[in-house]
Symmetry: C2
Subunit: 387 residues, 2 copies
């Protein structure tokens, strides 16, 4: 089996020469006569340039096929091979990575597993983020969760910046929120997921994740790109981590925001996440608060769904965005709002209600303008954040 | 204590506005009246814009001071805070990170510890890389090591692409090389370090590293940027890993090669590595085979040395480069050559000899041109690779 990678070179770069450098330099390398008796084995490890196309602007895309035997069925060794040393060689961007179906891992839960846990099947899931991000106590987290969970929220997560801090230690946050989750379960039969941000040095992080699950955590959040794909893959493969893992895209821009270097967002947040075993992936919605291309967002969505991973468009999501999001996604999506729920003019619970009102209004085909709305949570949200 | 970060914005970006977005959005975030009773705590977590300068080309540098209490004394939480979500916000590059002395970890060995292990004090250390990178057997590694170790080599490492592959499993490579290292020790009293590439999912990687050390590995190699800083920090903090750790820069270009996004090489390969507990860091020499700026190389060198971490300029290093390298570095450096040793016209042992001849020739102030050299390993090297 081979792994095919698409590299894009800007005008002025010789794509034939660079493709050859990658195919040889990122695999076996060169050898001289003293290794002629190993030639068969050495050749097996070489990559092959299978296609080079140059467009009218002078941009070239080289397709290079790498032997799967060169890597360890994980993302870290894959990145080292396809863009390790070569990432420092000049202008080249990895636009696509095409992996065998069997490469890496599949999510333990994914779209179907998360829906089954929540027993919600026929609508998008609504997710919130605890805000303000830093400075609330563990008890404050419990108070917020009660408001939004009673309003029908499906999932809540820590802000990605909130680690295991003295002001609100991770286990204390879990303790405060677990009580609320149990109350809601007893009162309504509904499950609410709380994705707890798991942090620390890799060994401590894995231990802490196991402890959190033992203590009742029903979901985890990981900043995959600052902690490392190998940490995600360890959690995803760990039988004790029998809860969904949500990936946050923090730091993705450091690898993906440049036009002519790094990798595309759809590779990092789409393809690689989808083969690393994560259950849901957050990323910027193109009509949100971060600059993002619609095509990249669509590619991420499709790459994730192809392996049953839940797409979670985020950043600047508020109730007024629901019609655009549903047009793009249909129901198989988690809509994730931070201030778009927490800063609702009324209260966070009204922020959640506004999302559900928006979903119902769309479902029943009613108009979606401020003027057409009855007084209530959705009207207030649209007045504040627009459509 | 605070952590100060320098962000550079290109012309056309409003640095005041962006600096404010970072200082608030990457810390506590905004809050409304309902959290006024938490105002004191929330404010403690906010970052502060301490300076903004714009140069004549329109580039601005904003200095932002973050409270150290927001992060966990590690690199992953630091990166999430200073450039997590914001990395996706548009054109901005992290040029400098200024950490408290006590932040993170210090190397267990570093420059002084590695010199003590080798008992070599008054010259640069010479390091080689097994080549070809993929396709040799474990026994081939032993044969190569014998040649270069007998010629006086100090350190050898796996190619960063060589993981735990069927053609040469990691433990088998160690077994073959450990025998050679023991022979050399018995025959000459000299220690030769072999930095074994440690790979796998984070938990397995850490277990494998411990096993390798138990089985006699006297150094480790880690692709820090593809596996994750949290993995490096776990190894560096682990009392069982009582051998030097060498960091490979694979994938650094994905984060650092862009002029207006990502982070500078001297932050990723200098500052952050130096606070993560690693003992030696490889990076491109500016006169080597990869495009690299002299100033960035010098900054990396100085950032590493300031915390006793060994700088290892690499990529395209060969004996002819020795005069330039010594002029830049003096003796506190590890000169790391791959094909510049392995592809010496005579044999890899002659490649090592050529480095030592070069050092002696410089020491004694003799001319360093092909014509002035007597026949031998150095002359052959200069004839092949130039000066």
């Amino acid at each position: 089996m081979t792994i095919t990678v698409d590299y894009r070179f800007p005008p002025g770069i010789d794509p034939q020469k660079q493709a050859k450098i990658i195919a040889v330099g990122q695999t076996a390398g060169t050898w001289d006569a003293k290794w002629s008796h190993r030639e068969d084995t050495l050749k097996q490890h070489l990559a092959e340039v299978i296609d080079i196309q140059t467009d009218e602007r002078g941009y070239s895309i080289a397709k290079i096929a790498f032997p799967e035997m060169n890597v360890e069925n994980d993302i870290a060794s894959l990145l080292t091979m396809i863009f390790g040393k070569y990432s420092m060689a000049g202008a080249a961007k990895v636009l696509g990575v095409h992996l065998p179906e069997s490469y890496g891992q599949r999510p333990k839960f994914g779209i179907t597993g998360i829906r089954k846990t929540l027993n919600v099947w026929n609508r998008p899931l609504i997710m919130a983020i605890f805000k303000p991000a830093l400075g609330l106590s563990a008890a404050d987290h419990g108070i917020i969760l009660k408001q939004v969970a009673q309003a029908g929220l499906d999932i809540i997560k820590d802000d990605e910046i909130l680690g295991d801090l003295a002001t609100a230690p991770t286990l204390k946050r879990l303790e405060a929120c677990r009580q609320v989750i149990e109350e809601i379960q007893q009162q309504t039969g509904r499950t609410v997921l709380y994705a707890v941000n798991v942090t620390g040095k890799a060994d401590q992080l894995i231990q802490k994740a196991r402890l959190l699950v033992k203590q009742g955590a029903n979901a985890l959040l990981l900043n995959v790109l600052t902690y490392g794909f190998s940490v995600l893959e360890a959690l995803a493969a760990d039988p004790e981590i029998n809860v969904p893992i949500f990936a946050h895209p923090a730091f993705a821009g450091a690898m993906c925001a440049s036009a002519d270097t790094g990798l595309s967002y759809s590779v990092i947040l789409g393809t690689l996440m989808a083969h690393a075993g994560v259950d849901a992936v957050l990323y910027p919605a193109h009509y949100g608060s971060l600059p993002f291309e619609a095509q990249e967002e669509h590619n991420i969505r499709d790459n994730l769904r192809s392996r049953n991973v839940f797409p979670v468009p985020s950043a600047g999501i508020h109730p007024g965005i629901v019609p655009k999001a549903i047009a793009d996604y249909g129901n198989e999506v988690i809509l994730n709002a931070g201030t778009g729920i927490m800063d609702h003019p009324d209260n966070p619970g009204a922020g959640v209600q506004a999302f559900f009102e928006a979903l119902e209004r769309l479902e029943s085909g009613q108009p979606f303008t401020v003027d057409s709305l009855p007084p209530g949570a959705l009207k207030q949200a649209l007045e504040k954040w627009g459509v």
